[in-house]
């Protein structure tokens, strides 16, 4: 259920509370909405203003006039630890975002002490303030600390610089380590309270009030003054609208004043209009809301509800008054704790569905500061994180699955579905169909991927199947060998044919040669024949001349020729 609570702390006084339930009580958790009632109390605490801080798991209360911080566990509702410090603590704040793992303490001597509650590491800064640190705030990015002191100055510190093991490469070497990065010194008297705007961006503002009756809005990222407001008296406490539209101050006479930034119609943001920076502004006295009775005493602390419409103020007489912001007047008395109320903190409402605000981890117990340790920066080598730097926390299950950034897990998808996602059903249907087929032909080969139980029938079925497969394998092997031989023969044939072809070619060459030879011989023979003819003619003529019978000589020559040319085949064709 949606509910909103505030937490109030008191400083011990001589009076005794009327109700027994409030005896000895120093810190009260009070339900504000929907019904007013006291939720829980923490005992034995007496805190001055600006000395109470709340983390999701713990309440830290610096004890007034002591060098002690009481730590109360919000889960268990008891006091978990009493942590001593070397100096008196004058102000306290929690840094570290939504988990609030770093406690920042402002000391009497003007230095800050940072305590990492999950590791026990503790860091002290230089004593940059000349007087006690009376107010401390941490900006919404948890990167800057603003500390106000009664020496009228406000220092801005970089949490990164203070906490880092490795000192960032900085041009600030001329400054001592652990010193502020900026100082705002426009106030003329002790700082009473500081409030910081709700923006995480670069143009966030801080508002500070001091005992010189001024409230100054300024830019803590640059140290630039934005607006000076001349108040009608010394304001004692301060709170800022959730949208940074206005701030509210409380006075020593118990009255409240609202100071609206947006009264002018300047086109520029009124705080960032340079023409107005140097002009102090006096908020109209009518914006001052009178308390219901003059005996309520000074307003020590202010806080605003989540919607910013109700302002609560804690007063000297122990009363918590609520004021209607819209109607600009006192509404009702919310609670009465007898002792002067020094701190009022509105807690974030429970029951809002807001995943980004959900804690991913929780520290159930704090680790007390360790002094005698390598963690104190002097003894360790520069820039390294010591091996025994451990962080104690409880990692909580997150509503949003951490792996959701990658791809949606089919299991979680099915798990949170109203029945089963369509894809899974389709897969199932397909598998059923396949299974059906698998069972229909019992020795079908497709069922192997479906079944995974180890039943006997199945083993048998598998065996049968294996045998079958083996049979198939052997036949395949046979076929393969046949194929192989066939291939062998064909290649043999091919080679033989190739050889034949070569032989034939050779034969053709041979024939060609023979033909040529024959041609040549023929020519030779013709030549010879012609020669012989001429010889016969010559011989015939010679015989005729001698008077002998020419024909006889011719016959004799013919006989010789036949002997000579009888072996040649073309003799007959020639004749």
């Amino acid at each position: 259920m949606l509910s909103e609570c505030f937490i109030a702390s008191t400083v011990a006084s001589g009076k005794t509370p009327a109700s027994a339930s409030l005896r000895d009580v120093g810190i009260c958790v009070h339900e504000f909405q929907p019904t007013l009632n006291l939720r829980s109390t923490f005992k034995k605490s007496s805190t001055a203003a600006n000395c109470l801080a709340v983390s999701p798991s713990h309440v830290f209360a610096a004890q007034s006039e002591k060098a002690i911080v009481h730590v109360y566990s919000r889960e268990k509702g008891n006091q978990e630890a009493t942590v001593p410090f070397p100096e008196r603590i004058r102000s306290l704040a929690v840094a570290g975002g939504k988990n609030g793992d770093v406690v920042v303490l402002g000391t009497e001597g003007g230095r800050l002490i940072l305590w990492e509650t999950c590791t026990g590491r503790q860091i002290a800064t230089t004593a940059s303030h000349l007087r006690p640190v009376t107010s401390l705030v941490v900006d919404p990015t948890s990167n800057f600390i603003l500390s106000g002191s009664s020496d009228a100055s406000i220092h801005v510190w970089s949490l990164l610089d203070l906490l880092s093991f490795t000192k960032p490469p900085s041009g600030r070497d001329r400054q001592a380590p652990n010193s502020p990065i900026r100082t705002f010194s426009n106030h003329r008297a002790a700082i009473t309270s500081i409030a910081v705007g709700h923006s995480a961006g670069r143009y966030n503002i801080a508002v500070s009030i001091a005992e010189d009756s001024t409230a100054i809005a300024w830019d803590y990222r640059t140290g630039r003054l934005l607006r000076t407001f001349l108040l009608s008296a010394n304001a004692t406490c301060l709170t800022l609208d959730p949208v940074d539209r206005a701030f509210y101050v409380g006075y020593a006479d118990g009255s409240i004043q609202s100071v609206d930034f947006y009264k002018s119609q300047s086109v520029q943001h009124p705080l960032h209009d340079p023409s107005l920076h140097s002009t102090p502004v006096q908020p109209p006295a009518e914006d001052r809301w009178a308390p219901p009775s003059p005996d309520s005493g000074a307003a020590h602390t202010l806080t605003l509800s989540y919607d910013g419409m109700t302002l609560l103020s804690g007063h000297q007489n122990g009363k918590v008054l609520s004021w209607n912001v819209g109607r600009k007047k006192y509404a009702s008395t919310v609670a009465d704790y007898t002792h002067p109320i020094t701190n009022l903190l509105m807690l974030p409402p429970n029951g809002l569905f807001h995943p980004s605000l959900d804690l991913t981890r929780m520290s159930h117990t704090i680790v007390k500061p360790r002094y005698d340790h390598t963690l104190s920066e002097a003894s360790q080598s520069v820039g390294t994180v010591p091996a025994d730097y451990t962080f104690s926390t409880h990692l909580l299950p997150t509503a949003s699955n951490p792996s959701s950034t990658t791809k949606p897990n089919p299991f979680t998808e099915a798990f949170t579905h109203a029945y089963f996602p369509e894809s899974m059903l389709e897969e199932g249907l397909a598998e059923l169909a396949a299974f059906d087929q698998g069972t229909a032909n019992a020795n079908g080969s497709s069922s192997s991927s479906m079944t995974h139980g180890i039943t006997d029938e199945e083993v048998f079925a598998k065996d049968a199947q294996i045998a079958q497969l083996e049979g198939a394998l052997t036949t395949l092997k046979k076929k393969a060998s046949i194929n192989e031989t066939a291939r062998q023969t064909t290649t043999d044939e091919v080679t033989k044919l190739r050889a034949d072809l070569a032989n034939l070619q050779d034969y053709i060459h041979e024939l060609h040669d023979k033909q040529e030879q024959a041609q040549r011989e023929k020519i030779l023979r013709q030549a010879r024949k012609a020669e012989r003819e001429t010889r016969r003619r010559e011989a015939w003529f010679a015989a005729e001349k001698k008077g002998k019978k020419g024909d006889v000589v011719l016959k004799k020559l013919d006989a010789e020729d036949t002997v000579m040319t009888s072996d040649s085949d073309d003799q007959s064709s020639d004749e």
């Binding site: 990015t141 906490l163 539209r245 943001h269 009124p270 962080f391 990692l395 897990n409 897969e427």
Partner: protein, 786 residues
């Protein structure tokens, strides 16, 4: 209700009358109608009226039918039953859950039957869901979950593994398709029922070891992931109050296992790293360099591996496992060894790819192995960077003390291995999450160290353009030799216009890299101090943002404009590009035409009197501001109507006078204080007389209601002079029209004054309801009139 009863009846009818074989195709629609009957199924069965008892009978019938279907002979019947049981349980919640014991038995029976994988998978999911839903009801846990959970665990383990003997160790089955589902179911249940799981931790542990340590067939990513998560979750089962110790031991063992593995994997190079942990400094194991790299069973009991690829795989798996330690919910408070984790990541990130070949090589290892290692380095670094991302996410703002250390490690890796796309994406992611936490505090040196990262980020985001390379070549045309000309793509000369479009469609899109790069730009602009970014880099970033038209980055750039440190020149803004690109987006509208402070105005033109203003004016103005008292009576706790009252806007003024006057009388102390102020009386008078005036105003519905925002000065005078009985004309106060209206207003008021004949009224009305008007001339005029 009637519809639900009918559809329930229809479901029953179909379930009983349709043959079981034909049910599966209908299962989806049946389940859908069942899940729509949630209201009926979850109402307690009181059986008062007839219809209710009829409904109860129908529900009973359905449950009986499903129970019998779960034991049906056919697989189709069982499959349908599983689907419908899940739908029924989801819809019916407690009313169904209390009678779900037979379902649980039936579903467990299916796990032992030779059903298709899908049926078993769905049975496991349904069973897990039933156990999960019963968790919030202790009686149901006692009756249903606790008795059946051990049986379920055994059955599920049997599906994925074989228990060889009586010893509490299991052997993982080869090729078990249900590993994924079973591990998911265990991971879901183990944190809720640690004592029931305790006897099985040994068996589950051995199965997980086999999955995580498997090198030969490596398991797919989702299975590995869920196995690692379950491994981490096993600490839930530790006996009372030792779970934190158990977690710490497992985490330490993982770290030392990673150290041991990396000693072998990285043996080819000489490491520069020196541990901050003295116990790890002596960790130089004698190695046999002649053998192939490999390692036996390690601290976690994972199997041995051989060869560099297996070693790198193991290292990556172990690093992921360490991430899982930071991502998985723990049973109680645990001590995270932050120092050791950072020591480990420093060791891995210090061995980087040599930029100029000057890596310190181990002379005993061959070149082949060293080169192999160097090519595998980006993969190791991606895993270690992802580990650091998870570390930052787990610790969010508490990371501040070590943020600078982590950033430096990221930059080591980036400098050496920015050629790898995966390394770039991982570095972008890491720098982004770091900037969110430490950005505002960064110094000039810190920001300038990011310059290289941001430049390559811009480069990755810009579409690949060939014009760019052409432009790069242009400055030295002389040096272009003939040989280089031959390599130039001829197409780029022929048709330069067509080229980019074709290229864009074909080039692979690295969505992960692009996403990481654009997110980093947004984070840089919105978290880092923009005045420390050099003008050149800022110009490059802005150019990239405009080219990619990334809305978030554009808004981040506009909201964090470049501020000129020297004061020279005009600060530029890319606002016009946003207005052109996304004219209809809400963020752009809110940016350009802000509603809250500027458009809604109080009655005064300039609220505060500067101190040098004279008293009379101040009085008049404060009167104007005091008069309207916006009502917040109606606005309850966190009701949406609660915002406007800080500024006296019109609507409130019209409604409130009736309610605001009684409180005025009650002002006891307040009145005392303010009694001295004469202006106060004017106010009360006004408020009381206003009561009279408001009624006719509301009934007659004058045309000039406050919503008439667009009324121009000209129409103003017209309407006022003719008909409007009062000067209740308003306009939304755009700052610009103020000047012309001041001239026209007096006449309007005069006319109104004549028609109503009540000066006081008009005085008040005009003050209340004409917010944009400058009061000074107005009141002057009034005085003249009187």
């Amino acid at each position: 209700m009637a519809y639900m009863a009918m559809s329930l009846h229809a479901v029953n009818h179909r379930l009983t009358n349709i043959p079981v074989k034909q049910l599966p195709p209908l299962a989806s629609s049946l389940a859908a109608s069942l899940s729509n009957c949630g209201e009926l199924l979850s109402t307690p069965q009181s059986q008062k009226s007839k219809s209710e008892s009829d409904n109860a009978v129908q529900v009973h019938k359905l449950m009986t039918r499903l129970t019998s279907l779960l034991q049906d002979r056919t697989v189709e019947g069982r499959w349908t039953a599983v689907v419908l049981v899940k739908a029924l349980v989801e819809a019916g919640q407690w009313e169904i859950l209390r009678g779900s014991e037979p379902f649980v038995r039936g579903l467990m029976g299916i796990l032992a039957k030779p059903d298709p994988v899908a049926t078993k998978k769905m049975s496991i999911i349904t069973l897990t869901r039933i156990f999960h839903l019963t968790y919030q009801y202790p009686t149901l846990v006692r009756e249903i979950t606790t008795p059946s959970l051990p049986g379920f665990i055994t059955a599920a383990l049997n599906l994925i593994s074989i228990k060889p003997s009586s010893e509490p160790v299991r052997k993982l089955k080869q090729n078990a398709p249900l590993v994924d589902v079973v591990l998911n179911a265990f991971a879901e249940l183990i944190a809720r029922h640690p004592t029931t799981f305790r006897p099985f931790t040994g068996q589950i542990h051995s199965v997980l070891q086999a999955i995580i340590g498997s090198t030969e067939p490596t398991y797919p990513e989702p299975i590995l992931e869920i196995a690692q998560q379950l491994f981490v979750s096993l600490h839930n089962c530790a006996p009372k109050n030792t779970s934190g110790e158990e977690w710490k031991n497992a985490c330490r063992m993982t770290i030392s296992s990673i150290h041991a593995t990396s000693s072998y994997v990285l043996r080819a190079v000489v490491e520069q790293w020196e541990s901050v942990d003295p116990s790890l400094r002596q960790l130089s194991l004698p190695q046999n360099y002649s053998q192939e790299v490999g390692n036996g069973p390690d601290a976690l009991g994972l199997g041995s591996w051989q060869g560099l690829p297996a070693g790198v795989n193991r290292l990556v798996v172990l690093l992921r496992m360490l991430s899982k330690f930071l991502k998985t919910a723990t049973a109680s408070s645990v001590v995270v060894p932050l120092g050791s984790i950072l020591d480990l990541s420093a060791r891995l990130n210090m061995v980087t790819y040599p930029s100029d070949g000057d890596i310190q090589a181990n002379p005993q290892i061959g070149r082949a192995e060293r080169e192999h290692l160097l090519t595998e380095l980006p993969r190791i670094h991606v895993a270690s960077l992802r580990l650091l991302v998870d570390l930052v996410k787990a610790f969010d703002d508490a990371i501040l003390p070590v943020a600078q250390t982590i950033l430096e490690q990221a930059l080591w890796v980036f400098r050496a291995e920015k050629f790898s796309r995966e390394v770039r994406a991982a570095v972008y992611d890491l720098v982004r999450v770091l900037l969110i936490h430490m950005g505002p505090c960064m110094t000039k040196q810190g920001v300038s160290s990011l310059t290289a990262v941001l430049r390559s980020c811009c480069h990755d985001l810009l579409p690949p353009s060939n014009n760019q390379t052409a432009a790069a070549e242009k400055p030295d045309p002389k040096s272009k030799s003939k040989s280089s000309q031959t390599t130039v793509n001829a197409d780029s000369f022929l048709n330069p216009g067509l080229k980019p479009g074709r290229q864009l469609s074909s080039s692979p899109s690295f969505t992960d890299l692009k996403r990481a790069a654009s997110e980093l730009l947004v984070a840089t602009l919105s978290h880092a101090p923009t005045e420390l970014i050099t003008p050149a880099l800022r110009a490059e970033i802005d150019r990239t943002i405009i080219m990619t038209s990334d809305k978030n980055a554009m808004l981040a750039s506009v909201l964090n404009p470049f501020t000129n440190m020297q004061g020279r020149g005009v600060s530029t803004s890319i606002m016009p590009f946003v207005a052109r690109s996304y004219p209809a987006e809400m963020e752009v509208e809110a940016l350009i035409r802000p509603r809250m402070p500027v458009l809604i105005n109080g009655p005064g033109a300039n609220g505060y009197s500067a101190t040098d203003d004279d008293d009379e004016e101040a009085e008049e103005k404060t009167e104007a501001m005091l008069a309207p008292e916006p009502s917040t009576e109606a606005s309850g706790f966190l009701k949406p109507s609660s915002t406007p009252s800080l500024h006296q806007d019109m609507m409130d003024v019209e409604m409130t006078p009736a309610t605001s006057s009684p409180p005025l009388n009650k002002r006891s102390y307040a009145q005392e204080v303010e009694a001295q102020n004469p202006a106060h009386f004017v106010t009360t008078e006004g408020a009381q007389s206003k009561k009279v005036r408001v009624e006719p105003l509301e009934t007659t519905k004058t045309p000039a209601q406050p919503s008439l925002g667009a009324a121009s000065p000209a129409t103003f005078t017209g309407t006022a002079a003719i008909s409007v009985p009062s000067s209740s004309i308003t306009a939304t106060a755009a700052p610009q029209p103020v000047a012309p209206m001041t001239t026209s207003q007096p006449r309007a008021v005069a006319a109104a004054a004549q028609t109503t004949g009540d000066d006081d009224d008009d005085d008040d009305e005009s003050d209340d309801e004409m917010p944009i008007l400058n009061i000074d001339p107005d009141t002057d005029d009034e005085e003249e009139d009187e």
